[in-house]
């Protein structure tokens, strides 16, 4: 009996340790994180991150379609890879960046590029140096919609599946819709028809364009807020 007491004590104790070290302690340390507040002469002039619920629907589509199985949303520092040199961000991401995300989509695979800052105008997926032989068009909403519908029209040999079910092909009645895709070649619909995004696609793209974690933070070296640095 003594021996099984030791066995039980060992099993329960080791589980408690595991749970304490990897769940409770981190929750204690990170659970109370607040947005960074920069003060300028007593006035709050800068708050990051901000709670933004307007893109929750787009974010839900990002999750239900499983975008995060191929795209991460975390930028590592120089010691941990070439994320910054690639242009996926201007600084590494830290826990504070995610405090308003109930279920952050950090991702564990990169079959596609990191999207933590894809909505930032500075985001790029290739080096500006001498190796850059490929220059993308501006990544605005119409670029993203075209990319979702037929990835290979904008990225040669893209490995992303086409998300045609987020769009519908309609007969053009009178005027062509403003949001109809500019498709050519094999992807183009029959004459007299047009491809327009369903609300899901529009919301997803709005969510993607909202992604920007490039705001300076105190805890990330080299990115101290300008106001605080003054």
């Amino acid at each position: 009996m003594n021996r099984s007491l030791h066995l039980f004590a060992g099993i329960i104790g080791s589980f408690a340790l595991s749970c304490y070290a990897l769940v409770l302690l981190p929750q204690q340390q990170l659970g109370g994180l607040q947005p960074q507040i920069a003060e300028d002469e007593g006035k709050i002039v800068d708050i990051y991150p901000v709670k933004n619920v307007s893109h929750e629907e787009g974010r839900a589509i990002y999750q239900s379609e499983g975008c995060f199985y191929c795209h991460s949303q975390q930028v590592r520092d120089e010691q941990n890879g070439t994320d910054l040199a690639r242009g996926w961000g201007v600084r590494r991401t830290v826990a504070r960046d995610y405090i308003f995300e109930k279920t952050p989509v950090l991702g564990s695979m990169r079959i596609g590029p990191d999207l933590a800052n894809v909505g930032s105008p500075k985001w790029r997926n290739e080096n500006e140096g001498e190796y850059a032989t490929y220059k993308p068009k501006k990544r605005d909403a119409s670029w993203h919609l075209l990319h979702l519908y037929a990835p290979r029209t904008v990225i040669k040999s893209s490995n992303m599946p086409p998300y045609r079910y987020l769009f519908e092909t309609k007969k053009i009645s009178g005027q062509r819709s403003v949001d109809a895709l500019d498709l050519t070649g094999l992807d183009a619909p029959e004459p007299g028809y047009e491809v327009v995004p369903k609300p899901e696609a529009t919301k997803l793209v709005a969510y993607l364009l909202s992604l920007d974690k490039s705001h300076p933070l105190k805890e990330v070296k080299g990115s101290a807020p300008e106001v605080a640095a003054k």
């Binding site: 659970g31 499983g66 590592r76 995610y98 279920t103 695979m109 080096n127 490929y134 992303m160 079910y165």
Partner: protein, 493 residues
Amino acid sequence: MTAAALAPTPTTAPAPAAPSAVQVQAAERAAIDASASGPVLFFFGSAILWLLLATVLGFISSVQLHSPGFLADCPIFTYGRILPAYNNALAYGWATLSGMGVAIWLLARLCRVQIKIPAVLVTGAIFWQAGLTLGIGQILAGKTTGVEGLEIPGSAAVLMLFGYMLVGLWGALLFGYRRQAPAYISVWYLVAALFWFTWTFGLAHLSIQLPGVTGVVQSLVAAWATQNFLHVFITAIGLATAYYLIPKVINRPVHSYHLASTGFWAFILFSGLTGAVRLSGGPLPVWLVTLSIAATILLIVQIATVSANLLLTMDGQYHMVYHSPTIRFTVFGALSFTIASVVGLLASLRSFDRLLHFTFFQSAQTHLLLYAFFSMVMFGAIYYILPRLVGCEWLSSTMIRWHFLAVAYGAGTLIVSLAVGGIASGAALADPGMIFSQVIEDGVRYHIGATLGWVMLALGHVIFAFHFLLMLFRIGQPGGEPTLFAPIGEEKH
């Protein structure tokens, strides 16, 4: 309490003490097998159905990695839904159900207790699978939690947890009523597995629902749960089975009980602390990842002791892999455990993780552990256990030989393709000048290799499922002498 007192009992199973006791013990084993037969057959049968489903889903997801347009126009078949459906079907369908079936049978045998009210176990398995079916259906319908590794929504997870707890409770009762006083090392691992899974699964699904748990802690909880599932639950059942089957079939005791004991305590102490390596380099406090890397390195104590113990037990008996199907599968699995553990240790080091994180190398590691180690040991166990439950031996050693060839080469092709592809893209991406989409395009060739691996795995699984079906209908060779690849004089069971 000294180390010696903590060491497991020096018998692999009740050994015949006197000739007169042999028949009594054989009758007792037969009675235990008869009581376990219903639920264990149900566990194995359903596990194999899930394995077939996982094979289809895994094949589709692999094809989509080199032909992204494949089935892409139908939402339920999009890669982002097929992949988690595959992961859940393989882990919670095949691996968990086969593991629970083996665990229950081993506990009954090693504790020398007949199973009372086996319907409870069957009910547990039905609840588990109802929840899992609902959960995978919701993933395919796009109603996932969105947390990688814990995709199954709470309502389905509750059904699964209830079903699991029935099985876990019955396992604990077998241990509680044991008639074999000092518990064998396999029992230690099994009790640990049953306990850890319940609490990890329950707490993880509970905490991602709690309003106070947001941000990266959610990802950490998911990483912790995934790591505990693979590196505690699955690993413990696989090792318990290997520790039982190898000594049993070659008919000699485990080489060293002290090694077994040391390995167990190192395992139970360090494995549960390794979870944060899954988020290495990510937006977490550095101490967390450092702690997990340290725990992974300390696991070398377990890797060394378990590997040495199993290999030394086999010492001089390696010819048995030519004769016994059980030994061939189990030794393949045991060697894969050593390889998977050493690779896991190296890959957790920051200098390697920096390159291999976010690549298919991680998928290769998961398949090394979950398939090449665990699933192969489960195949070995099912080849050993099933004749004792249905009363006849496997029909065809040729079919077993083809099953082994197909899954061994299939798993090898899949894992090597993923690993080499991961290393290649990781090394290429270390150069910031390499264009990302070019690296991904270059990686496509490795997924063709992986798909080839899936074709072989599918062939092996179909042969195995067919052979299993024949056994269910008692179509086999007369009971008594096990079906061997080649005859052997001294083989005893």
